[in-house]
Point group: C2
Chain length 289, copies 2
């Protein structure tokens, strides 16, 4: 099974388990809508790539880890789009979950996806029970308090925001979690993979800041200019487009340099390079030349 199908299959299995005739139908539909067709699936791809580099001896557990990080990422998008945060009615080129299903179901869909993210890990851990606790603490650390996605969002309510901690929590933490979860699912030491997640998360945040500042809403499939509109810390507003592009390139190089010596090195490099190409705004040469 190729990587795209593997991720899709793992997510569908998770959502099927959370649906069924007992479930309130609209909420089940809202959760499915939040997950499919989905974006680039970069976090579960990273998770699978690291697991492959570590031998991937429990593919079912790796699949669950990939589904878990994507469930948590999509849950954060659903809540982040809601009126009390970004108030974004469009996501991936179509109505966001609250725009399509209303606020109550959007809030509940996010909650349900967070719960499901932990449940799928537990359900897949049967043959390797000793890997479950580190998987749960790694994934929880990436999304919860004090320094995961929820914490990153929480910084937006503070008057004084430490920009690096904010970006690291809001974006970097789940990249780190995805890489480390891939290693843990395969029974490997996750520590050597932290730097890769860190560099990729920083690259992704820099690219996101560039795209938010330079791309149209149509190109992005979601509202542009949000950092400025919400007065949020952004690398572009802090140090300009040219310097942000320079940093992005540095982070990508750092990510490649950080890959531990392993048999999957070539495919990890290829993944990073294709992501770097995909994320760079297409009109960058006009602006930053």
């Amino acid at each position: 099974m190729d990587i795209t199908s593997r991720i899709d299959h793992a997510l569908r299995a998770a959502v099927d388990g959370a649906s069924g005739s007992d479930a309130p139908p609209q909420l089940a539909e809202a959760i499915r809508y939040a997950l499919f067709p989905g974006g680039a699936r970069v976090r579960p791809r990273l998770c699978l790539a690291v697991a492959a580099a570590c031998g991937d001896d429990r593919p079912e557990l790796t699949n669950a880890a990939a589904a878990s990080v994507e469930l948590l990422h999509c849950a954060s998008l659903v809540h982040d789009d809601m009126p009390c945060f970004d108030n974004a009615d469009v996501r991936r080129g179509r109505p966001s979950v609250h725009a399509a299903y209303g606020e109550p179901l959007a809030l509940l869909a996010g909650d349900g996806m967070i719960v499901l993210a932990f449940e799928v890990l537990a359900r897949a851990s049967g043959h390797a029970p000793e890997r479950l606790a580190p998987l749960i603490t790694t994934v929880a650390g990436a999304v919860g308090m004090p320094s995961g996605i929820v914490a990153g969002q929480g910084w937006e309510s503070e008057t004084s925001v430490p920009v690096e901690a904010y970006h690291r929590a809001k974006t970097g933490a789940l990249f780190v979690g995805s890489a480390m979860a891939g290693a843990i699912a395969a029974g490997a030491d996750p520590a050597p993979w932290r730097a890769l997640g860190d560099s990729l998360g920083a690259a992704y945040q820099a690219a996101d800041d560039l795209r938010d500042a330079l791309c149209s809403s149509q190109e992005m499939g979601k509202p542009a200019g949000q950092d400025n509109a919400h007065d949020r810390p952004s690398l572009v507003s802090e140090c300009g487009v040219k310097e942000t592009v320079g940093r992005l390139e540095g982070y990508v190089a750092g990510a490649i340099a950080s890959i531990p010596d392993c048999k999957g090195r070539a495919s990890l490099e290829a993944l990073i390079m294709s992501e770097a190409k995909r994320l760079k705004p297409k009109n960058l040469s006009l602006v930053a030349a």
Copy 2:
């Protein structure tokens, strides 16, 4: 350590781990505010009582299970009070979390508490790793889709609501989860404890419907008359006060009858009787006589 201190201590340890200098201060404060001083802590009490009846051989894991179910209960209250649901500005006699901290932090506090509920289980499972997966799936089943609290809330967005499934999901599921988690934390078979959780959940829901219909907002420490105001299914509106009181008494008797033969039977009976007394509206004799 008495039961109240044991629960308080477990919750404080969980929240301390999620705070610290790295965390956004207001969000950390909002989570603490949502948990302390707290209500009757009936779910963690049930969890501890069942664990005690099963031998409680891993008290640290039992404490984590108790903290986990209370974290999830309080998270559901925080989200449930928000403007898109009950729009309740008062909870436990003081401003609800969104009234005190604003909607963004209330939403994030709930999310953070859900994540933390799973994290504390993983952190406490070191000496009994084989108990972690059943704990996680039991607790997740009680709060997630297709038939936990989130599903119960989800039914409120449907035009046709199966009342029993709605109540069972919204209230009963976490009582079942609390009882069964207590058994699992102590290494026992959770199945014999399902009926106790089921009966207690049904009793609690009947009492809650009575209180919502008969008590003042001041007595309840939260807005009264919500079922009517939100056109929600309620036993009282369905079959009247007298019949609801009769059912409540039947559920309490059923809960006591369901307790498996064990050495902790007397203290479990005492817990159930004191809860039944606490929950019954004080003006019931005037109304239902």
